[in-house]
Amino acid sequence: MRGFTLWVIGPSVSNNESLARAVEGDLLERGVRVERLDAGSIGSFVESSQGVAFVANLLTRNDVVCICSTPAPKSAERQANRKLIGRYVEAYAKSSEAEGEISFEEPDKPEVVCDLIQESEEESMTQILKTLEILGFIPPSDFDDEYSDEDEDKIRQRLQDLGYI
């Protein structure tokens, strides 16, 4: 699988981080090589979003999936990050005004918008994962795996032979 960077942006850094963690967990479960860069990890060493993008780009080009949730509040810096990384997906996590922690410029064209005011974190996570699947960044998880009629006959016969049914 090729690498890409998912950057979760929005006015509430803690909401962004929490959503990024949820997406990371699901990708790990699918066996994806993934690293998460947030304020608590890389944020302690690198202050600017440009610095985080530099590291994300290194990971991405080595086919590691990178999930960033460090603040990237300015539209211009996000555009620069997108240009640098190339395989870049932006998830905009809308939070309520009360949850806003930073001054934030709304994005123009994020790949996915998650409305954390209206929907649960799990719904937002699913929406992000579906978007990644649709855009071809990750393989689909809902594969068509009902037995065909012919396979079902084989299974029925085998289970009957074995005495299970």
């Binding site: 066996g31 037995y147 085998r158 299970y164 049914i165």
Partner: protein, 464 residues
């Protein structure tokens, strides 16, 4: 902390492993003596599906939402599905380990077809329709399996219902040997924190050869050609396990588990013949020879109950407003069911003796009841008898199984043998629960045991 290897032996049974052949099985006995052993109480019902998945999720069949291999999709009469991995919605041990960046090798664990991606590798089991069906993750390891298994890895024995016992015995040995070879190859190639293989050979040999060694079995003949077939297979299996243990490192932990045990089978009870005799079931036409019951043969306008065959009986009610041609008024469901249970539990053997049938209501034995369970689950003669679904047999008690020779039934208790080098065990009871396995595995790897798991970890505090 070392790695953890779980060896699953489908149907391995405590009275043989812990008692009768204990001294002939130095590797299994040795693990138990250095560590601990217990009988392992299975799920209701004690059947491969759902038992292995219950073990790997610590969730009961009701919570998992499947009650056997074949389940009802809706209340239509013939709307059934086979519970493969697609229907497993609860998280397994390897899901949690993957989330925690630990690598697993999952090999032959039932109900893992179609294989889902994970951090590691997966070889699915005998619910794969065929080897060309994409039964591994990643797909390219399938070639390695064949290569390691003398050119042809076997998912299961071929033609289990054969009367050619020499051939069947050979096939069981061939399968097991090839699967151990293939597992060793994969396990040796990469560093897996957690590895689990499940071998089906014991289940197959029990069902095929039990009558030849069990002195209590109706068909046992002293001095017969296959008197030692099962014993010799256990001895060989113990040696293959010994070979596998050789590649473990000093601090690696090992568990040997089975999903259920085995016992001799007295015979089969033709549940649908009994239901006809009692007036619960009416067929459109009575077959002249033994025929597997299909729902299209049933006159549902004159039927209140029908049943399915298997190692236990599944009983379905035809309920008004629920089934298309329901006959039992909804408001009478509870009283009808209670009266029916009494009648079924009182069903005698061919000589009129009580057989101790036990009948379970799903809502009484599961934490929650998802999807569509059978109305009742019955252990006929407490699993001394299997359930035969056939009609037209002309008898209720059948001594040749309707699906061919079968000498053994499943028993509720399997085995648990384990040795954790750098973790002490809590006090191990004589009988532990199948639900305790997953929490123990997660605890070993330092992963917090989710609160909704039914079982508890058997490990004590970490040594400081």
């Amino acid at each position: 902390m070392g790695r953890l290897l779980v060896i699953g032996l489908d149907c391995a049974t405590p009275q043989l492993v812990f008692d009768r052949w204990k001294d002939l099985l130095p590797n299994l006995t040795g693990i138990g003596e250095r560590g601990a052993r217990a009988r392992l109480f299975s799920t209701i019902p004690p059947i491969t599906v759902p038992a292995w998945t219950a073990m790997m999720t610590s969730k009961d069949p009701g919570t998992l939402g499947f009650y056997g291999f074949r389940n009802r999709k809706s209340y239509a009469y013939e709307d059934l599905y086979y519970a493969n991995a697609r229907y497993v919605k609860e998280k397994t041990v390897w899901n949690y380990l993957s989330r925690n960046r630990m690598k697993s090798l999952i090999f032959g664990v039932p109900q893992t077809y179609p294989p889902k991606p994970l951090n590691g590798a997966m070889v699915s089991s005998f619910l794969a329709p065929a080897k060309d069906a994409g039964y591994t993750y990643p797909p390219d390891i399938a070639a390695k399996l064949d290569e390691a298994a003398d050119g042809d890895y076997m998912i299961d024995v071929r033609d289990f219902r054969t009367d050619d016992k020499d051939w069947l015995l050979e096939s069981i040995y061939e399968m097991t040997e090839k699967r151990f070879k293939a597992f060793k190859r994969l396990y040796g190639e990469e560093e897996y924190d957690f590895a689990m293989m499940v071998e089906m050979g014991i289940d197959r040999i029990h069902h095929g050869f039990w009558r030849y060694f069990d002195e209590e079995h109706r068909l046992y003949e002293p001095g017969n050609k296959y008197e030692y077939a099962i014993r010799d297979y256990y001895v060989q299996l113990d040696q293959w396990i010994g070979d596998l243990l050789q590649i473990l490192r000093e601090d690696d932990a090992v568990m040997v588990v089975s999903d259920h045990g085995a016992k001799g089978m007295h015979g089969a009870i033709c549940i649908n013949e009994w239901l006809q005799e009692k007036g619960y079931l009416t067929l459109k036409e009575q077959p002249k020879e033994p025929t597997r019951l299909k729902t299209e043969m049933i006159d549902f306008e004159k039927t209140r109950v029908w049943g399915e065959g298997g190692y236990y009986a599944r009983i379905f009610f035809n309920v008004e407003g629920r089934e298309p041609k329901g006959q039992i008024p909804k408001e009478e469901y509870d009283s009808f069911r209670d009266a029916f249970i009494q009648e079924l539990e009182a069903m005698p053997d061919e000589n009129g003796n009580q057989i101790g049938t036990r009948v379970f209501k799903p809502e009484d034995v599961y934490r929650s009841v998802k999807n569509i369970p059978p109305d009742l689950i019955a252990y006929l003669g407490n699993l001394d008898w299997r359930s035969a679904g056939s009609v037209g047999t002309g008898t209720i008690h059948l001594f040749e199984n309707d699906t061919g020779p079968d000498d053994a039934n499943h028993a509720e208790e399997g085995i648990l043998i384990m040795e954790f080098k750098d973790r002490p065990l809590k006090e191990i009871q004589e009988v532990q629960s199948i639900y305790d396995v997953a929490p123990t595995i997660l605890d070993y790897f330092g992963v917090q045991v989710p609160e909704d798991m039914i079982g508890i970890s058997m490990l004590g505090e970490e040594k400081s």
